[in-house]
């Protein structure tokens, strides 16, 4: 190549070189275009995905409020538990490393590996998925040690409810459990999250809105291993409010003990008792036996254990105090007496015969005594619990009026107490009988209200059903002169700073339509009943408790009609007589003799109350 003087030769661009240069320009240009598309057109979307990747919202769980008795004794504690959580997206990318880590996690937590893998595959890859149940201390330590090498795994501390003396307080306090799908649908608008603990039974459910705190949150930046790098923004959780129940823990224990002693003494399996303050409707004690360990529900109950509880013939899961419906038997006679007096069918001094039986349309209805007790007024009829006296009164009053009085005393009414599962009992009438008989011919015996129905109604049989809670409210109304109180378990509610935000509000839900004098006549009968020598009075004397109050026994037949039917034993009681402070019902399932089975339980409870009235009322 010859170049002329002073001229640097130009580059000799061959066609191939030009083609190569064009290709390079084309390829780099193409990359630029695609890059612009990615960074400008999709930029906002992808930047959002980057944020979703790197910024996580963590729920800061609020502590649930504590449940106390009226004096501030804790009935539940929030105890810390540890869970393993895994963020699937943060697991090692390399398949072999991932498999190794998963089998190690399975080994530490004791969760079968296939289940672990299946759970993680099914979950949201960017969420913290709880794996396995609560870790034991040893597991937690083992895991914490290995955590730095386990990408995507973390230990979450949660708090779990631990219940105090669940066999005594369990039926009142209840327990919490994870939200099921049905609950979730209902509670989602209130901000509940799947798997969140929610009160299932007892006041845990009844005071759910108070006990539940307001969860907080934190937006944190996490790295690819799921480790928190920094907190961007957060809102602290607001703990739930503390609920101080109207229960007196000591009286509750004494009630449970007295009832348990009574059941053991008479070889009975189940019973219930409710103590209320007749002036306010406050429930001071509420016991249903047998109880069960509510802690097994919060700590995760196995299907086998749950089935065992469900299939137990003594039905420990049933809260008999509010959900058990039984015939009241003779404890109902005060209603019949009140109706007879108020309707003018009898007066306090009207004397009626108390024969050993009466004959109604050819049907014989017996008294409990096989001999005539002679003539008596209503008070003595109550004290001696003369069935034939009240058959006559019921016949005079009639079923419609009797039902009206029963409802006025709160029978057949589901009480608005702060617990789910409250049953109303049943006040039967003609229409009810026709509706439920299930026979097309409404004039058949199964459907038609008979005179027999009316007179047995008068002694608390027939189709009448009540609950121990309703019984306590009923006897409280007799104690306080005719006010049907709303039973309540709330003493007060305090927020996390200890400020009282809500306190007891005594509420009268109904007035018994009876004059004070008539109610006094009925009360007089109850006073006499517990003062009969060689009868109930024996228990008071034996226990050293003055028989100052009014009571009524009841041995109710159930399971059909006829002779030799099984019975339940009742005792309702209020004290002291002039200024009643407590009203109670005692129920012994399958109790045969209320005087010797149910009444002594109430006397034992009353003894405790007398001895500790100062502390209870403090």
């Amino acid at each position: 190549v010859i170049a002329l003087g002073g001229v640097t030769p130009k580059a000799r661009w061959s066609r191939r070189l030009i083609a190569a240069a064009s290709l390079a320009v084309l390829l780099v240009g193409g990359l630029s275009v695609k890059l612009a598309e990615l960074q400008l057109t999709d930029g906002a979307t992808l930047a959002g995905m980057a944020r979703a990747n790197t910024v996580h919202r963590i729920v800061l769980e609020a502590d649930r409020g504590i449940i106390y008795d009226r004096h501030g004794g804790a009935l539940v504690a929030n105890s810390p538990v540890w869970n393993l959580e895994v963020t699937p997206a943060a697991l090692p990318v390399d398949a072999r490393a991932r498999t190794t880590e998963l089998s190690e996690l399975a080994r530490i937590t004791g969760v079968p590996e296939p289940k672990l893998v299946a759970d993680l595959l099914a979950a949201d890859p960017y969420a913290d998925v709880p794996v396995g149940g609560n870790l034991t201390q040893a597991q937690e330590l083992a895991l914490a040690e290995r955590l730095p090498d386990l990408a995507g795994a973390s230990i979450a501390q949660r708090s779990m409810r631990t219940y105090v003396e669940p066999l005594v307080f369990g039926h009142v306090v209840g327990y919490v459990g994870p939200l099921n799908d049905a609950d979730l649908k209902r509670l989602r608008p209130s901000g509940y999250l799947p798997g969140e603990a929610v009160g299932k039974v007892g006041v845990e459910a009844g005071f759910e809105s108070m006990l539940r705190g307001q969860n907080g949150w934190a937006d944190v930046q996490v790295d690819a291993r799921g480790q928190v790098v920094r907190t961007i923004d957060s809102q602290a959780p607001v703990p739930g409010k503390s609920v101080y129940l109207s229960l007196d823990a000591a009286l509750q224990r004494a009630t449970a003990q007295s009832l348990a002693d009574g059941l053991v003494r008479d070889h009975k399996k189940a019973g219930a008792s409710v103590v209320v303050d007749p002036r306010t409707g406050e429930v001071l004690a509420l016991v249903s036996l047998p109880g069960y360990d509510t802690n097994v529900f919060t700590h995760g109950i196995s299907q086998a254990d749950y089935s065992k509880l469900l299939d137990d013939p003594n039905r420990p899961l049933l809260n008999r105090a509010i959900s058990g419906q039984y015939a009241p038997g003779s404890t109902f006679k005060m209603v019949t007496a009140t109706a007879g007096l108020q309707e003018g069918k009898i007066t306090a001094s009207t004397l009626l015969n108390c024969p050993s039986y009466i004959n109604v349309n050819g049907w014989i209805y017996h008294n409990w005594a096989s001999y005539s007790l002679g003539q008596m007024n209503v008070s003595k009829a109550l004290a001696t619990s003369c069935d034939t006296f009240f058959y006559q009164v019921a016949a005079m009053v009639g079923d419609v009026t009797l039902a009206r009085y029963a409802r006025a005393f709160g029978f057949g009414q589901a009480k608005d107490i702060e617990m789910p599962g409250v049953m109303p009992g049943l006040v039967p009438d003609r229409i009810w009988k026709q509706l439920q008989c299930g026979v097309p011919d409404l004039n058949s015996d199964a459907c038609r209200w008979s005179q027999g129905d009316t007179i047995t109604f008068g002694i608390g049989q027939s189709y009448l059903l009540t609950t121990p809670l309703n019984q306590a409210v009923y006897v409280a109304a007799l104690a306080n002169g005719g006010l049907v109180m709303r039973p309540t378990l709330m003493h007060e509610v305090r927020d996390s700073s200890g400020q009282v935000v809500q306190s007891l509000h005594a509420e009268v839900t109904g007035h018994v339509p009876a004059s004070a004098a008539n109610i006094m006549a009925v009360r007089e009968g109850m006073r006499q009943e517990i003062n009969r020598p060689y009868n109930l009075n024996y228990w008071f004397r034996a226990a050293g408790v003055p028989a100052d109050g009014g009571g009524k026994t009841g041995t109710a037949q159930w399971g059909g009609s006829g002779l030799d039917l099984p019975t339940h034993a009742w005792f309702v009681f209020f004290a002291p007589y002039s200024q009643p402070e407590v009203a109670m019902s005692v129920f012994v399932e399958r109790g045969e003799l209320s005087e010797v089975e149910a009444a002594p339980i109430a006397v034992q409870m009353m003894k405790f109350y007398r001895d500790h009235a100062g502390a209870i009322r403090a």
Binding site: V1, A3, A11, S32, A47, A50
Partner: protein
């Protein structure tokens, strides 16, 4: 003629562009939390290699091309015999305690060997066409079985590109394309499980968003999150928090694009583009066919790496472990790339020039030889 005059023939733009890339590379490697001081050492070593290669008369490589070829094959054999295995592939050998990746160096050596072979004749006969393919087959087999899909792809591009620049006829090129088309369906049988997986996932990234598709998805997110202006150096969310895998090597471009945005990325591509055109200009200036083909080979080598690396970072091409020249962390690749660019500079330095006022065009080579004599 003085040595000062020699340096005036230097392509001054090329070291400038290379320097810019090296600085951007160091910044990105630092941001990717890799050992940037080691990378700095490699850049310095590479700069020495660059200077040495520039000063070295590239024409003296031609006689020893056979030896270089033998060395390449032996080196690749050594990888198979005594190499270290990482991530399922045997790519590394230790030399005096330093891990080396011979396949990186082999790219450059094969460019030199091919340039030497193809420059024996001015025209590319079918015979030398076939000879070139036979020549390249053994080292290519050794690389593909390491397995190193990325380097293999670069090698294929280099062969095709150099044959094209050597003047291969349309028929010859077509036969190559045809052979490739026939071989492509066989690819799944040759590929390792993970490589096949990578290809499948490239075709459908959603099939395994947590496993192998994760890299692709996360890199794409990082690039897109950069937007127009980028999130700022050291402030890329995806990169800094470790969501971008292999962030200092294969996916270094995603880190760069996230932090410097579209504007920064376009600058980077423009620098690469200018450098590439500059390499072709060096080929056009080359005093002989050997130098021209060598410069052309280096051009193809760098072009292929840039296109594949950026392409896979933005989800345009399947994932293959290929470094972005001078940006990715890695000693073997950095030093090899700088040495290759130095060789091209050597070609430029030894171009024919006409001295001012002198009648005879003299080549630098002549001067050097005279000086030695």
């Amino acid at each position: 003629m003085t040595t000062g005059a020699v340096w005036r023939r230097l392509d001054p733009l090329q070291p400038l562009l290379v320097g810019m890339l090296a600085v951007l590379g160091l910044m990105t490697v630092y941001s990717a939390r890799a050992d940037w001081s080691r990378q700095l050492v490699w850049v310095v070593l590479g700069a020495c290699a660059y200077a040495a290669a520039s000063a070295f008369d590239y024409r003296r490589l031609r006689p020893v091309a056979l030896g270089l070829y033998a060395a390449t094959v032996l080196m690749l054999l050594a990888v198979h015999l005594v190499g270290h295995t990482t991530l399922g592939a045997r790519r590394w050998v230790s030399v005096a305690g330093f891990p080396l990746e011979p396949s990186e160096l082999s790219k450059l050596l094969l460019v030199v060997v091919l340039a030497a072979y193809l420059s024996r004749t001015d025209r590319l006969s079918w015979r030398s066409f076939g000879g070139a393919l036979l020549l390249i087959a053994p080292p290519a087999c050794l690389i593909v079985t390491q397995p190193d899909l990325g380097t293999t792809m670069v090698l294929v591009a280099v062969i095709f590109g150099m044959l094209f620049l050597a003047g291969a006829s349309a028929w010859q090129l077509f036969s190559l394309v045809f052979a490739g088309g026939v071989a492509l369906p066989l690819l799944p049988y040759v590929l390792h499980g993970y490589q096949r997986k990578r290809l499948e996932i490239f075709l459908d990234p959603s099939q395994d968003p947590l496993g192998a598709g994760y890299n692709l998805v996360q890199a794409r997110i990082a690039v897109g999150a950069g937007g127009l202006f980028g999130q700022g150096w050291l402030h890329g969310l995806q990169g800094q928090l470790g969501f971008v895998p292999e962030r200092a090597t294969d996916f270094v471009f995603a880190i760069f694009a996230e932090e410097f945005g579209l504007l920064g990325s376009l600058v980077l591509l423009a620098v690469f583009g200018t450098l590439l055109i500059r390499l072709l200009r060096s080929a056009a200036l080359a005093p002989d066919r050997f130098g021209g083909l060598m410069a052309g080979g280096v051009f193809v080598m760098i072009l292929a790496q840039v296109v594949e690396n950026v392409g896979m970072n933005i989800g345009l091409l399947p994932i293959a472990g290929i470094p972005l020249p001078l940006i990715s962390y890695g000693g073997s690749a950095t030093i090899t790339t700088l040495a290759a660019l130095g060789l091209v500079q050597s070609v430029v330095l030894r171009r024919r020039v006409v001295a001012h006022g002198a009648g005879d065009p003299v080549t630098l080579g002549t001067i050097t030889r005279r000086a030695q004599a």
